[in-house]
Amino acid sequence: MSQAIQFDPIRLPREAEELRLEVRDFLAEEIADGGFDPHRTIMKSGFDREFSKRVGARGWIGMTWPKKYGGHERSFLERYVVTEEFRSQNAPVTSHFTADRQSGPVLLKYAEEHIKEDILPKITAGECCFCIGLSEPNSGSDLFAASTKATRTEGGYLINGTKLWTSNAHQAEYMIGLFRTSPPTKENRRHGLTQFLVNLKQPGITINPVRNMAGKHDFNEVLFEDLFIPDDHLLGEVDSAWKQATSELAYERSGPERFLETFYVLPELVRVIGQKPDARAAEGIGRLVAQLHTLRRMSVSVNGMLQAGKEPVIEGSIVKDVGTIWEQNLPAKARDLAAFVDDTPSNRSNFDELLQYATNIAPKLTIQGGTTEVLRGIIARGLGLR
């Protein structure tokens, strides 16, 4: 093994816990004022631009970014608290979450100064939605098979090809796209791909909805026909996008959103089971809570280690692997444990509705953002096996 697995028992600092109370107050007010309905947002798109603007006004988007770009220079552990509190209440974060988590940090690192000055403050104000242009019809887990072409032209590039499974492309202002600028080389099949900032509100782009099996429109097919991207929208080095995935991936993999996507089922399970559970139900709930608690400790630990400048790459992948499998299994376990709860409508209609939805979306949880198989490959590499 190259390095021992490490999970420092990190606790959230006081300023993060103080922030938690502020966030809870904010969410309680939002819910009370009808800003969002914690049960209904799950089944809707979760895209709410006005909500995102209110979050931005509180300073909770781009929290860790430099102040000169509209950021707030707070710690990753403070951002962690905001993320988990929002998730626990099913707050509609879709409009800003992707930009906050990954697109903004990519721009911070690789975009030209005038682009950062233009776009980052819009993100932190909650006025700007990003989507991720990685997957294609013939390139999913195998990212380096991407074939959408960026061809050199006067002052920039012409893009031709198709991106697929692009969540929220129909609502987003921008995409960070991965396009082929050169063929792969014999020595390095990862060579030849380049990251670009794509303004989606311009000619040359067609966005078609792809409805999912839960009846929701998140996915899209994005067609590019001679879309012009100017040179200054290049992100990083030409042909070398593969070098640019670094420790940020650990943030993306280890956040609370990687095990809380079906969390709403658990408190409702506790509610329908009641205060005096039999041994079977008590054991089931006890195990689920112990598992979830441990996942959260692992996730906080990875974020704390990242904040401290360590690079817990294998640990981040482990959090996502264990976390997504847990959130995927949660609806099935809840179904088992609630099997003997009386089904008078008043008793369990809310639980059943949420359970139904969670069951329907469960299959995607171990696919999105890196499949179980890919993650296990990464962990195996960390163990020195490949």
């Binding site: 093994m1 028992p9 506790v270 008590a282 112990a290 608690h293």
Partner: protein, 354 residues
């Protein structure tokens, strides 16, 4: 975050490497290693780590002691070090002087209860007691009219029915029948029988974490040595995914045990959070044992099933440890009852309390 003394860890590692090497112990034909190992630990003050210096111990922090026990798990140390540490901690909490020599504790199952009569005699049965046969003394949690007491009992005064357990370390039955303790004292105020079991459970969580780290290393090393179908078996994706899962379960145990240990080390008194952290850790490390030992054996194939190979020194102890001081099922029922009692809306605040 709890700090652990690195010098202490180095010194303990050296002792285990020299005197508790699993391969050496596995091929030993006598039990001579036991007294040599124990003497070395005793001379270094490790056996009384949790006894304050004023009482003749070495007064190490709880975190130091827990880390020593994680190390003992890494070496599958087959002596009652964890039990002796716990015994010393219990005696000291009741201001009783701590003897030298190996000790064990009773009861180690949450449901077993030892009673103390009006004239301070012990009555009752404790099942699954580790190392009862080699322990010179047993520290017993006994109740006199529901008031917890700590008693020091000579091993000679106990009726012991041997049971080797899965590892051979012993999971014996001790019967107390009109048994007179050497010393006895009421447990300190606020001490509950549950706290005793929670400390024991966390010791086991740490040992499990240590042993899982070792079987992960054994399995990854072996997969890279063993050739089948003309390549190292570590090159097969099915094997890689199994090992990745083993690594994940090990990671879970490291995080769960480390968090519980840190919580106990920094808590000013036993409370609901300690209970929550420690039971979660014992449940989750216990679950990890099942999955991880199955994979480690699968990767090793037939050789791992032999007496000659050291894998069983870990896996059999892991199976014993997950039963001690409350199994996954036992603690899950208690934790589930607590969560249900608090109600649905109190679940998130509990999870995010720290």
């Amino acid at each position: 975050m709890s700090e652990v003394d690195p010098l202490l860890i180095d010194a303990t590692t050296k002792i285990f490497e020299d005197l508790s090497d699993p391969q050496t112990l596995n091929s030993a034909t006598t039990d001579d290693w036991r007294s040599a190992l124990w003497s070395a630990l005793e001379e270094s003050g490790l056996t009384l780590a949790w006894v304050p210096a004023d009482n003749g111990g070495s007064g190490a922090s709880l975190a130091d002691g827990f880390s020593i026990l994680e190390l003992s798990g890494k070496f599958a140390v087959p002596i009652p070090l964890g039990e002796t540490l716990l015994a010393g901690w219990l005696l000291s909490r009741s201001n009783l002087e701590c003897p030298s020599g190996m000790m064990t504790v009773a009861p180690t199952r949450p449901r077993d209860k030892i009673q103390m009569t009006e004239d301070n005699r012990l009555e009752g049965e404790a099942f699954g007691i580790p190392f009862a046969n080699v322990a010179e003394n047993v520290v017993v949690l006994a109740h006199k009219d529901e008031v917890p007491h700590i008693a020091l009992v000579s091993g000679k005064d106990c009726i012991i029915k041997s049971n080797p357990g899965l590892s051979g370390d012993g999971r014996d039955t001790i019967t107390f029948s009109n048994t007179t303790p050497i010393k006895i004292a009421p447990a300190p105020e606020s001490f509950s029988g549950q706290e005793f079991c929670i400390m024991g459970a966390t010791i086991r969580s740490m040992q499990i974490s240590g042993a899982l780290q070792s079987i992960l290393k054994l399995a990854t090393d072996y997969a890279q040595e063993r050739v089948a179908f003309e390549k190292q078996i570590s090159k097969f994706q099915a094997v890689q995914h199994n090992l990745a899962k083993l690594a994940s379960e090990t990671a879970v145990a490291i995080a769960a045990a480390g968090s519980a240990m840190d919580t106990i080390n920094t808590a000013t008194q036993y409370n609901e959070l300690v209970f929550f952290e420690a039971t979660s850790a014992k449940i989750r490390t216990g679950e990890a044992v099942g999955e991880a030992t199955a994979i480690a054996h699968q990767v090793h194939g037939a050789i791992g099933f032999t007496e000659e190979h050291i894998l069983h020194r870990y896996t059999q102890r892991l199976w014993d440890w997950r039963d001690d001081f409350g199994s996954e099922s036992e603690w899950a029922v208690e934790l589930g009852e607590m969560v249900a009692e608090r109600g649905a809306d109190e679940l998130w605040p509990l999870l995010t309390a720290r």
